[in-house]
Amino acid sequence: MTDEPVIELDDTEVHFENRSGLLDLFGDTERVQAVDGVSLEIPENDVVAVIGESGCGKTTLGKTAIGLQRPTGGSVKFRGQDIWEARDKRRKADIPYDEIRRSLQIIHQDPGSSLNPNQTVLASLLQPLKRWEPDMTREEMEARVLGMLEEVGMKPPEDYAYRYPHQLSGGEQQRTALVRSLLMEPDLILADEAVSALDVSLRVEMMDLMLELQDQFDTSFLYISHDLSNARYFAGQADGRIAIMYLGEIVEIGPVEEVLENPQHPYTKVLKWATPDMEVKHGKVDSPPVRQIDIPTPTDPPSGCRFHTRCPKAREECTTESPDPIGNGDRKTACFRVDPEHTYWESEPLEGTDQEGEIL
């Protein structure tokens, strides 16, 4: 094993050409800036949770990180090897593309639709082994599958192996999907809203299971969600990091508790507000702390800081200048407010913002 991170995104950009269909014959094609200038390293045995609203590009970022989506700019490296160079050059790459593909796995949000309805659990799970472990005998493969089913709590495994997906509960389907990705002994698993479709009483159990396996198999997780509480539970226990994403950019990243206890970016604070606690309030919920509750379209992101149209702390400076992520070590925030010397503080607050008593 090398010291290289499992995955390294460097100034990665994914832009899509979006044609609106037949009715739009004369329209210009729009460019959706799904991911823009994201740099992120995921070392071995690490957990990173990416949080953001729908349309912020978090799923695209995840797919790009595991080589399912080709970036339109910047690079994605697996242990130092550029994934798309490996794919294009095939045998000339230091790490063959097949090995990269196998090392990067995914569990989807909807476990039901990610399993073939016409195949038993066993047949579904044997498939990847047949492809990647051609030297194993049928018996060895079956033993491996049954062992893994037992590992994820589907006991006795023989009971589950011959069932079809519709004969499994949502939690069991998600475990099966987890087994399928683990059979590849991956270095990184992308878990995209992997517990959101499960019943509330099952989510903690599923996250515990993923953490246990992470520990046991030294797998890293890229966990994607819109739910801050679940992300905190999952990444926090693994001493992982949390990354807050807004309109294609990571606006704040750092160790879980640091980000949540001392959020620096106004958007992180907004997401914290949006996360319900168990307090009884009889509906005394304050007005949303954003100037607009709808997210702007990623085809035409606002100028300057992309959050400025909704930000409660925006000033003139934010409408023209885009803040770079600053900070030290693991903790970085892309907001002028982090720098007390910034000219932001001298510029005029925008209308509708709430900055009473702040230095001007």
């Binding site: 168990m278 509906g283 949303p288």
Partner: protein, 353 residues
């Protein structure tokens, strides 16, 4: 403040339907009341029967489900109305004009070939309402939901984001000035920020239009923030009902307590989280006694033999469990919970001052 009089009363509501494997009861002899001008939150996991209970309030249970029991609506003025006995046409009128509903999966309930304005206009003409006044109200409602009326009314459903569609739908439900709004998982498909924003808007509308709201969700923290009273559904029945503080801060049904420990929130320490072991019962094969017995640490022979009646814990709080006294010790809540802070283990019945 809520006035303590009943606007909807459900008694002995049962929904059954035939399945190949046998008769399934997806709502089992449920009694529930909704108070005028309150927000009642109904929480439960998928398949617990919470949507069935909501649909029952409007006699909107879909075939092949058969609803029996009684549902009485008490209008502001006039005689009580037995909803299950209403002729089809009267029921249709009542559904929009008195009790409106925003269903689950509502994002697909707009007709894709009509723009939003046509949806509002059709609803108005179907109920012989004045179009001009109605559209004026539509604009007012849309603006209150942070939408630009001109832009939204002229749009087709696919041109709006999920959060915008959901808000447009809430405006449509309130178009005919109903007294009651029943919302089944109205924000489930949306981001937390949009969910939370919509909740604060719902609360604003409730105050302004003096609405009674029944809000159904699997999201316990969300309901805790919003509701005046909370009902917890488990296995097709309402197992605990009380004021929000009763149910969240001193719950007495072991299931409610277990559910509170299974839902992560931002303040809870990690080792306090505890999944609920086991599965919910099959609607075709509900055990004879307490439906939660198989998963409950307090279950004994009596629990397994007979369905527990409601234990009246106070004027406002009841739970279907014969071990409500032992529940706080058997299923302790997190150390930083309100219960632990106030030293109230719940064994002393009665209300806090």
């Amino acid at each position: 403040m809520t006035v303590d009089d009943t606007i909807i009363e459900v008694s002995d509501a049962t929904v059954a339907f035939e399945m190949e494997r046998g008769a399934a009861r997806v709502l089992d002899d449920v009694d529930a009341t909704v108070n005028r001008k309150e927000i009642l939150g109904l929480v439960g996991e998928s398949g617990s029967g919470k949507s069935m209970l909501a649909s029952s309030m409007l006699d909107a249970v879909e075939d092949p489900g058969q609803l029996t029991g009684e549902v009485t609506y008490y209008p502001d003025d006039g005689e009580p109305i037995s909803i299950l006995d209403l002729p089809a046409e009267e029921l249709r009128q009542l559904r929009w004009e008195e009790i409106a509903m925003v269903f689950q999966g509502a994002l697909d309930s707009f007709n894709p070939t009509q723009n939003i304005r046509q949806h509002f206009q059709e609803t108005l003409s179907a109920h012989n309402a004045n179009r001009e006044e109605g559209m004026e109200r539509a604009r007012e409602l849309l603006s209150e939901l942070y939408l630009d009326p001109d832009q939204v009314l002229g749009s087709y459903p696919h041109e709006l984001s999920g959060g915008m569609k959901q808000r447009a739908l809430i405006a449509l439900a309130l178009l005919l000035d109903p007294d009651v709004l029943v919302m089944d998982e109205p924000t489930g498909a949306l981001d937390l920020l949009m969910q939370r924003s919509i909740l604060s808007l719902i609360k604003k509308l409730q105050r302004e239009y003096e609405l009674t709201i029944v809000f159904i969700s699997h999201n316990l923290p969300l309901v805790a923030n919003l509701a005046d009273r909370i009902g917890v559904m488990y296995a097709f029945d309402l197992v605990e009902v009380g004021r929000a503080e009763d149910v969240i801060e001193s719950p007495r049904h072991p299931y409610t307590r277990a559910l509170l420990r299974a839902v992560p929130n931002l303040d809870m320490s990690f080792d306090e989280m505890q999944p609920i072991e086991g599965d919910a019962p099959d609607p075709v094969n509900v055990p004879p006694g307490c439906a939660y017995a198989a998963r409950c640490p307090l279950a004994d022979a009596e629990c397994r033999a007979e369905k527990p009646p409601y234990e009246e814990l106070s004027d406002t709080h009841r739970a279907k469990c014969i071990h409500t006294d032992e529940a706080p010790d058997a299923v302790p809540l997190a150390v930083n919970s309100m219960e632990a802070q106030s030293g109230n283990t719940g064994v002393t019945t009665g209300e806090e001052p």
